[in-house]
Symmetry: C2
Subunit: 582 residues, 2 copies
């Protein structure tokens, strides 16, 4: 590249992927003419911060302007054209038609290499009437932010419906609630954060309720009226303001019109981020990239559009590398994310139970999961609290397949997610997790750290040292294809009488662990025993005593805490109808 | 094992490794007689929490009693004998002689398998006179805690000298300072936390000073007097109370007397934690285990005693597994740790610069490091602050060799250390770090996260996209065997005039990055250019401009921040005499 400094590079899109590409290109090639086209008035702004600017958690919008066109030009000598839209691509003549949204002028610009970073746009789901109402907003751009603010101020709106219960929807809900509005969140599927499992998101759903947010799941919006939103059920939800956060769609109309190949969800690219035309690259939310965990499988989600800032930034960098003759390959995604909802957080990496059920469904019993509730740091050091860590693994070889973590917002949910993400990327097994040497001091961790603990429990399952059942096994068909009934078991609660009195599974008998060896004659031999405690450990100890004394036993994964935190009642039935592998 | 339930197992030592072994044994083998001998009055207490109990940060000592003998007996049916000391081992007859420290009675107990978990004991360095004074204490047991408290109360001690500047010494110093005492820390070596590098611990040394702790390094104590401690320099340090935290020594006299093989620092064990006698196991602080990173090298530290709670716990578990016929191998250590010093924290995994210099010293130029100062989470989200991350890598193949992290105590120093620890365990390269998909949302991280950033910079060094120099290269012989002089360079400060005015390297010329392309004629072509900015990024951009325009240039690793945070003055000389690869 540096040998041919007269190549002209045009980058369409001036946020995340596009700007990463532009700045990397300049670093690698000082004298190549680089032009960035951005349809909006700003470049490189922090769109992830927009919900927090709405409430004032981020006190000024200025903070969101990560870079200005002036600074980019001064530092990187890149020609930044804001308010300039890509209209069409003429691949034969290697030109683009662009439209200046201020002057209205159209221009034809030649390129040697074209990088598309057009992003994704919010969708209005089909079947919703009134989605074009003046009180209906998205919350993805600085313009959206201004519009919503002005609307609230002008109309004195007091009620808002957020349509969509994933990242942007929930961040919007939290920040609108902080502004004092009466907030409803309407989610079409059975639970919020659909990629995660229902039992892991239930604590966050409770957190929303605790903060006065009205959460409605399994609910399709049919009509947006001036002051309400109407659901398929006929229910009306008050909404003087509507935030549409029901997903995004890759912006691929222009490249498709130019004959570039697209998949089901985004533009097709190779591992160097080249589209079907080797002189046209595409990066970020608009492209489909492979899921590393589905490699080798014939699965419809194998290549998928992924609206995450991290991959977008790295892809921009890789496209620049390849344009400059460096062959850095994109390795695919594992789908790592984290999100805060008021005082709680959830993180996830890899695949969840319901995703694995779907993917490995043809071969039942190939994967399992364990749930642990470790403390974030030594229990005796002030500020200690419990996390919930769920890891998924392959029963054939112990390979980690995914992990989910929930807990208080400042308790290291992000840390445990990251540890699992690195382990997953490295192809580690649950036994590798047992051996991880992690940083320990009382203010920061435990000698047996959270991920070690998850590894120990999963390792025990894998090696056959314990057989577990999940609360969900009683509510739904399990991944092993059978559904359990409480009636099949003698329910043994090995906690203290006080814990037992505070709530227990219907029909359970309380024999505290310390008494179990002396009271074994109270445990029947003609029925399998379901041993359980609060978080799973004493239940496991009870299991080991019983098993070695000839009883048929299982331990309840994650204990009673996993029952009430997972959204089940004391009959191990879903508290609310919406727990279901979807 | 379960097939022979009459084997008798004796475990000598009832904390960390010993109790992990006992409880795992019981889980695996319900009917095996297990006896735990503990010389002290308590088992399973949280010795890591002891310094914090001294100040009241941990408000009650009860919190430190993780398990009581009664609970262990009830839950695990283990015979716990506290105040019972191992006196000798008769391997031929497979018995141990034990001494009841209360009754004075001695007993002979037979064993089939013996597990030693005797731990380590604090040492008084040679050449210190008066180490047996009544005002000289260790701080490793609950008894020490009581004694120190009583002594302070009885004598009204107002001054204390802590001998030793590693974990326990610094935790002691912090908590004694919180009690209002006048505290001195005396470290024999050139800096605190000797395994880490001086430039990484300097911010923590400043933190000690900022909290009124008198830190004296490069200082050997020669004499402990009733009210002072005397140093080899003749200096006297006021000390009505002395805490001896100058290292520990494995408790191996008894096993050595029984003819068990020992290395230089601890008892020798195989990967199943068996000593030279296959019926005797040893775990925890008393054994030598291999450093995973020195595997295959002929290095004296290849097998070393390591006083860390995490490995001790895991080793206890492995010994139990092996006794019960499960072959789980100990994989070795990587030396991961974290420590808080007032409001700052430091974490480390793997090897540091000075350790690598020592190990790879015979082949100069085989390893290098980079320093980055990433934010803990999105800069625009409230509470953002900067970390310093230093990673070490092999210049031959890019393999990660170690990492060090410093920053404010609640800014995720532990998280970044853990991410690096997992990457190191997985054998990742710095290029693998570039591709890691970590959890991002504004309250938790950055789209290009801290470890990604370190990977990008190291990857650039590895691929030759940037040549860097370290501040230390000007002060000391570098790992590449050459020492640089400031006079050899044209010093180019590419920061803003305001930043320049706030402090800069002696003799530097300020050309802000945005002006550099227009003012290239001010940069000489006959001399190498040292480009630098605040944290390293703009310096790198300056480097790329210069390099591609035919200049001979280098970038200053970590920028000016690494200079003043690394303990160098504006002449790139050590601020204090003690920065030195030791």
């Amino acid at each position: 590249m540096s040998s041919n400094p007269n190549k002209r590079i045009i980058i369409a899109g001036g946020v995340a992927g596009g700007m990463s590409c532009a700045t990397r290109l300049r670093r690698l090639s000082e004298h190549t003419p680089i032009t960035v086209l951005e349809r909006g008035p700003y470049i490189s702004y922090a769109n992830c911060g927009i919900p927090y600017a709405l409430s004032g958690v981020i006190p000024t919008d200025d903070a969101l302007h990560v870079q200005t066109p002036e600074k980019i030009t001064a530092w990187f000598n890149v020609d930044v054209k804001t308010n300039t839209e890509l209209v069409s691509i003429d691949r034969e003549n290697k030109t683009v038609l662009v439209h200046d949204r201020i002057s209205g002028q159209k221009d034809i610009m030649p390129y040697d290499k074209l990088v598309l970073a057009l992003g994704a746009e919010p969708i209005t789901p089909r079947g919703i009437e009134g989605g074009d109402g003046e009180h209906v907003f998205h919350l993805t751009t600085l313009a959206d932010l201004d519009s919503i603010r002005e609307y609230i101020k002008a109309k004195g709106a007091k009620t808002v419906a957020v349509i969509g219960g994933a990242f942007i929807g929930l961040e919007a809900a939290e920040n609108l609630r902080l502004l004092g509005l009466q907030v409803s969140v309407i989610e079409r599927l059975s639970h919020i954060f659909p990629p995660a499992d229902a039992d892991m998101v239930y604590p966050l759903e409770k957190e929303l309720n605790a903060h006065g947010v009205n959460l409605v799941t399994d609910a399709a919006v049919t009509k947006i009226l001036p002051n309400e939103v109407e659901l398929a059920s006929g229910q009306q939800v008050p909404a003087e303001l509507v935030i549409m956060a029901a997903g995004v769609r890759a912006r691929i109309d222009i490249p498709k019109a130019a004959g570039l190949q697209a998949g089901k969800t985004g533009l097709a690219v190779n591992e160097f981020m080249q589209t079907s035309d080797p002189d046209v690259y595409a990066v970020g939310d608009m492209v489909e990239t492979p899921n590393m965990l589905l490699r080798g499988l014939d699965h419809p989600d194998k290549n998928k559009m992924l609206a995450l800032a991290g991959p977008a930034n790295r892809q921009g960098r890789l496209a620049a590398d390849h344009i400059c003759g460096k062959e850095t390959r994109y390795r695919g995604n594992i789908g790592t994310w984290v999100c805060k909802v008021f005082g709680k957080a959830i993180g996830m990496t890899g695949l969840s139970s319901h995703q694995l059920d779907e993917i490995m469904g043809v071969e039942k019993g190939r994967h399992d999961w364990v749930t642990v509730h470790p403390v974030n740091h030594a229990g005796y050091y002030p500020g200690s609290c419990r996390l919930t860590v769920k890891i998924h693994f392959d029963l054939k070889n112990g390979k980690l397949l995914g992990g989910q973590v929930t807990g208080p917002e400042n308790a290291g949910v992000d840390k445990q997610t990251d540890v699992l993400a690195v382990a997953l990327t490295a192809g580690m097994t649950v036994e590798d997790l047992e051996h991880l040497e992690l940083a320990y001091a009382p203010p920061f961790g435990s000698a047996k750290d959270a991920v070690n603990m998850a590894g120990f429990v999963a390792g025990n399952v894998l090696r056959g040292d314990v057989e577990i059942v999940h609360a969900a096994d009683f509510a739904f068909e399990t991944s092993k294809g059978r559904r359990k009934s409480l009636q099949d078991f003698f329910l043994l609660d090995v906690r203290s009488p006080k814990e037992f009195a505070n709530g227990h599974i219907d029909g359970a008998v309380n024999i505290p662990l310390g008494d179990l060896r002396q009271r074994l004659d109270e445990v029947p031999k003609n029925k399998p025993i379901l041993s359980y405690c609060q978080v799973g450990y004493r239940g496991y100890l009870g299991y080991r005593i019983l098993k070695q004394d000839g009883y048929d036993a299982v331990n309840l994964d994650g204990g009673y805490r996993a029952v009430f935190e997972g959204g089940f009642d004391d009959g191990l039935k879903p508290v609310i109808k919406r727990w279901a592998p979807n």
